[in-house]
Structure formats: C-alpha cells, structure tokens
Symmetry: C3
C-alpha cells in the first residue's frame, strides 16, 4: 500500500472539503478525542503541559526541582536531625550574581559533612537554565555534591494542604543551621527590610527565629553565631540602585537594627566596587564568591571538622 499517496489524498481532501460540509462532524470527533487526551495527558505528562503553557523559550535543560521530581514526598526537618551534617540553606534572588551559586556549591564539595538545600526565586531561576557553561541547569546543580534539594515558589503548596502536612518554609527554617542569601537583590532587600514574604525565600526569612529560642541546636553540630542560627546576606545590585537613598534605609535594618553584633540574626557581606554585569562601574557588585565561601566555612567551622 502506498502510504504517501494515501496521506497526500487526505491532505488535499481536507483542504478542499474542510471549509464546506464536514468540519462539524470532524470537530465533534476531534473535540471528544482531545478532551479525553487532555485528562490522560494532565495526569501523566505534567511536564509537557508545562511546555505548552510555559514561557517562550524552551527550557534548555530539565529545570524541575527535587520537589517536582518527587512530588509525593514532603520535606521534614525532623528527618534530618541526626545526619551529622552542617545544614546550609543557600538562597538566590533576582540578580545576575545568581550565576555564582554553582561556584559556591562547587567550592564546598571538598567537605563530606555539609548538606546544602538551594532556594531560588522565580527571577533568579532565569539565570540558571543551562544557557552557558557558567550557568548550569538546576538539574545539573542538583547533581552536584552535597546538594540535597532545590526548592522554588511552586513547591510550597504543590500538594493541597491538609491538617498534619508540613509547611515547607517552616521546615526549611528548622532544618537550616545557616541561611545564606547570595545574591540579595534590591527588590528582596526591600522585602526583607519591610517584612514582605510573597515568595519562598522571603517566607523563610520572615519566619526566621529572631529570638533564637524556638529551634534547639542539634547534638554535636555547633551553630554559627555563638550558639545561634543566623542569616548571611550578600546584596548585589546595579550601581544606581545601590546609591538610591532607600538602599541605605533598608541596609540600616540589616546592618544595625537586626545585626548579629547587636544581638540580632543577620550578617551582611558588603557589596564591592567593580564593573558589574549591566555595564556600570561602581559599588553594588556582590561580595566575591570566594569570600562568601570563606565566610560560610568560618561560620560553620568547616576547616576544623573533617574534610572529604
């Protein structure tokens, strides 16, 4: 049988007959088909549906988070109390300096006793889609040593909540010994200074135990700031943004009112002068990633513990 003949016939016929008498009958059949397929699809191929519904550019690699790949398992801090590891909650917000996250994770790969969970805001995840050598995809980062989870906003209420379910941003706060936000964008600096918590990263920040009394230390794991947990932030923004008078107002809260040195829970790694990604030269660039790693090592006392 000559298939090429047969399908060409159908093609011609369709073009000729469609606008005339048949389309109602055909549509009914196809609508029924598609409705059924939609249901089957929806249940079995959520990623393809996302492809249809999602952004313009095809994801360059699998950007699904751990939670997406394992939607049925929910994260509980209690399951990790006795893992004997330092718990680093490493967050990035919407600045191009997000591309330093893989460097930071890579530099910590020499330690066997560190567990890293990565949090990304929607904006920051744009920078890690595998679009260049220095910008691996989330799936690639998820395969790096010590990375035990990557969470994004959509993971918060993935499963319809019922009584007894854990709440992700609370569990992440409990789990973390140290939270590092690098980079902290101008927008998230404003949210942090003013208590807005409309994404997963800022929900953890807003739910941080400012009193230091709620979450007990785990046996054998020293907490980073004289027995207290804390949040280390590395602001990064365009030079003009940095010089905007609001920046100083917001920074005052983090560097003074709520600073570790004043009995608070926040340590700021100041921006540096350099030519930043947007082309302006001046202050506002993120603290060097190697210095961020050094600060993490110091706060988690990684040098004095066994290395891999």
């Amino acid at each position: 049988m000559d298939y090429s003949m047969r399908f060409s016939d159908i093609a011609e016929a369709l073009e000729e007959v469609l606008p005339k008498a048949l389309h109602i009958a055909i549509f009914l059949v196809i609508l029924t088909l598609i409705q059924t397929i939609a249901q089957v699809f929806k249940r079995n191929y959520p990623r393809l549906i996302e492809l249809f519904a999602g952004k313009h550019h095809l994801p360059l690699a699998d950007t699904s988070s751990f939670a997406q790949r394992n939607p049925s398992t929910s994260f509980r801090a209690a399951d990790h109390v006795s893992d004997g590891k330092h718990h680093l909650l490493l967050a990035a917000t919407g600045s191009v300096a997000t591309i330093k996250i893989p460097n930071i994770v890579g530099a910590l790969a020499k330690y066997d006793n560190v567990s890293i969970i990565i949090l990304l805001t929607e904006s920051s995840s744009n920078f890690l889609q595998g679009q260049s050598g220095e910008q691996p995809s989330l799936a690639q980062i998820g395969n790096m040593k010590n990375v035990d989870g990557i969470y994004r906003d959509e993971d918060e209420w993935r499963k319809p909540w019922v009584r007894g379910d854990s709440i992700l941003h609370i569990e992440l706060r409990r789990w973390a010994d140290l939270m590092v936000i690098a980079p902290l964008s101008a927008n998230c600096l404003a949210k942090m200074a003013q208590g807005l918590s409309d994404n997963l990263v800022m929900s953890v920040v807003r739910a941080w135990d400012a009193t230091g009394m709620l979450d007990p230390a785990r046996p054998g794991v020293p907490l980073p700031y004289s027995g207290k947990k804390g949040i280390m932030v590395a602001p990064a923004m365009n030079t003009a943004m940095w010089h905007h008078p609001l920046t100083a107002e917001h920074m005052k809260r983090l560097k003074s009112d709520w600073a570790i040195d004043n009995g608070g829970w926040i340590e700021v790694l100041d921006p540096i002068q350099k030519e930043i990604a947007c082309g302006d030269t001046g202050a506002g660039g993120m603290h060097e990633w190697k210095s961020i790693v050094a600060s993490i090592e110091m706060r988690l006392r990684l040098h004095s513990s066994k290395e891999g």
Copy 2:
C-alpha cells in the same frame, strides 16, 4: 469492515513512516486543524484550556468563583442597597487558618438577614479545594446559606474594562458594612501596614474610606462602629513570624494609629497561644473562630435583630 485492523495499520504505518518522508505533509494538515480547533476551543471551552494551562494538581472540585460562572454580570453595590441585610465582606489571606472560614460562615447560617461575600487571595484559596472534610471547595462554600458571592484576584479585570464599567474593589467597599479579614497573614499584614494593594483583598483595604464620609449608611441598617464602617482583622502566623520585630511595627499601625478607638477604622482580634498548624507552640495562632463570630454578631448587632 474491521476497524481494529485498520487503526493498527495506521499506527504501525505512522511509526514506520513518520521519521522518513511523510511528516511534513501530515504536519501541515494537523497544524491547520489544530489552529482552527484552538480558536473554537478558546471560545467555547475556557475551563478546559485552564485545565491544560493550570497547576499540576487537578482541582479536587469546581473551584470557579461566582464571577467565573457568571462572567457577564458585574457586581454593583447600588443593586443591594435596599436588601435589608447586613453586608459582611469576609476575606482570607495566605494562612492555614483559612480553613476556619467555613466554620465562621456556618455559624452565621442561623441569621436570615446577613449577606456574605467571601474574598480569597491566591494563597488562601489553596486551603479550600475540597481536599478534606474540614476544607470544602469554593463551590461547596458558595452553596452555604447567606453566601452571595466569592471573588478572587482574577475576577477584578475579567471583562476588559470600558468607561462606565464598575470597578470591583470599589463596589465591594461600598457594599460592605463590615469587612473581616480572618486570617490576616504576616505577608498581608505587611502589605496592609505599608499600603501595598497588589491583590483584590488588599485593594479593598487600600480603598477603604478612612474618613468615614464617602459611603452613606443604608436606611435601617446600623453601621458597626458608632455609625462608621470598619475592618476587623484576625492576624495568624507562625510563632517565629509573630515574634519578628517587624510584626510589632506593623501591628502598631493597626492597633494604635488606625484603631477604631483612636478614631480610625480598624479593630484587631489578637492572636492566641496554642499549638499551631506548623508544629510550633506559642503566640501567633488565629483568634478562636467562635470568638470571631461573636465579634461579628456584636458589631453587626445580629442578636438584637430577628433571627432565622
């Protein structure tokens, strides 16, 4: 004619021939078909399109709001001036205490002279999808006595606005004798204290008549606060969130600067100590729902009016 033979043939043929010579011809036909179907679909089956484009989990029940089911009718406060009922605008924001909304509505079912419109933020609607017995779907809540509407963010500009159209958040403010926000989440507390109005609930709050002079009382319907309308809020959040120093700053605006007792328009129902959903024990849990109902009854003077 043996259909099973015929379709199996097509299946085999497709698998064999597709990668070779025919796919361009077939694609052209199918693309034409799908483009036409897309147009027809879009106009006739918006819910199915939503299914394709929406979240991972299938909605557990019909979560469409009144406005979705009746997109052509727009809400106008003027249509309800003489209904002889107390108008309660009952809003929930992103806290698990949202599951108390059905209890509050149910407790008011004994009154015949109460009209309730429910507002839900996107976060709060996650908690009412019919996923458990205490968490009915919005459709189920919409069928409860006295519930005359449920609105969400997407209802605000559902129909492209033209001059003369009403504006939903303004009409809702005009309609309401009393607005109750229970629960008020940490995030929406911050938005309320700082004037952010990026969702329907916060737009009503921002458009509230702080002067008490714009919206006249309706004949025969007493207003709740010495002849003034007002907003009653019941904050609810994790204990650590509650103890964060920003909470006190934000609460000061609501409990002092803008309080009914100081000539303002806000009444705060303080959180209580209890074990809250996230597992922490301490302050921050929402005011008991029965006390919220009692406060509503007192402010709307429901006990002294005729009961059903």
Copy 3:
C-alpha cells in the same frame, strides 16, 4: 471517492469503538504525534501557545509588544545616543487613567524629534486591549507616530540571560532623558516610596540614577531638570485611596525628600478633583492629560526645538 462518506464512517466508528478496545492503540499514536507537534509548535508558533495558555478573554487585537514581535533583537541605549531625539520613557501603572496614554502620545505626534518608549505594568495593559474607541490596542499604539517601543514585564528576561547581554531596565534608564509615569497607581506609589521593584516599570524607577552622575548627557540634547534627568509622576487613584493616611506618607517622599526642588529627581503632577471612573467624586483623579503634555513639552523644551 466520496469523502463525506468516509469521514462520517470514521466519526461513527470512533464514537462506537472508542470506549471499547481500540483507545490504547489510538492514544499511543496520537500521543506520539502531539508530543512531536508540541515541540514544533513551541518553536514556531509561540503566539498560538499563548492563546492556549492565556486569559479567558480573547485578546481583542494583537497585544504583542515590540519585543515579542522581535524577540531576537535586544534593546541597547548605546544604539540611540546620536539619534538627535528627545527620549521620553512613558509608563502607565494599574489605574483606569491608563486610557489617557494614547491622548498623550497623540498630542506629541506634531514633533519630529521625540522618541517614545512605552512601559506598561500587567494591570495597566488590561485597559488597552482595543475594547473601545478610546482604548486602542498596544499594536495600534505601537503604530502611532514617535512610538519606538512598548515593553512589558515579560520582555525583561525573554531570552535566557548570558554574560554580555544587556539588562532591559538598566538600558531603558540610560536611554531616557525623562521618565513620565502617568498614571501612578496607589499600589505603585507604595512600591516607589518603599523601594519595591517587582515589575519592569518599578525596576527602572529603582535603578534611576538618583545621583545624576552615572549617565552623561547626549551631545545637543538638553536634559529636563537643570542638566539632570528626572521622573515625572501623575498619581491617580480612587478618592478614598487618596485620603488614606498612607498616601500622604508616600507622597512626602516623592514631593519632599526626593523632589527636584530639593536636589532630588522626582516631579509630582498633583491629582485633581473630579468625578473619577469609579463613580466617587473628589480628589485623586489624574492630572489633566493636556497639562501632562504641557509639562513634558516644557521639560523637554519641545516648543523651542523644531516642530514637524
């Protein structure tokens, strides 16, 4: 061959046989087809995918922005330094007064030496879908004289960013001689006063060069405020919103702390008393659009330059 017979047969057969034995075989074929089509579609017909995934109402006209129609070209201020034109960055935020944007653009059509780029927040673009004579679509506005671009939030990270790519909100700030935000909604007033930058318009505002030192003037093009660039805002909101005490707090920053007259970078065009779109009468309505045009003409010195 009788096609109408043939397709009717298929239709009947499908309805009869589908629920029985064949559907697995058919589904496999169709799933394979659709998966392939999805990939092809995704690459070639992004607008159709948007149609599937988008809002309920069909767009009344082509609402794609310049960037959508030309996704491969990125905007760089440096390409426009020597165009000999005044650069007006005209932004609208979520108020119904957005419908005055076409009037403002139209009134500037008499000048040949003005280049206008329009920015719209997601809320404001609801008001310009071609739904009425005074509300042309973005495509229609894009065809008006002097309009050299229309950008929305989704244009910011349309292409996955790699090192060397420009950053849209920074390039727009560099490009602009004068930014005009008309209308400035209550919500965006709050964001502006408090440094939130979660959309494209507010990102440009947050990245504005408050120091006046970063972006040099272009040869032969005078800057609007004594040699400095600046942002002119025309707040517009419901009367009750305007009288809310937070409005005065936020306005104080713009009209006093950061005002051009105090060495800052912001000029406020005060709201006026009138019956506004929502039906309330009182303060809060946007400055008359003709006065906004006059202010733009004065600041850009358009009258003294050659006219078209």
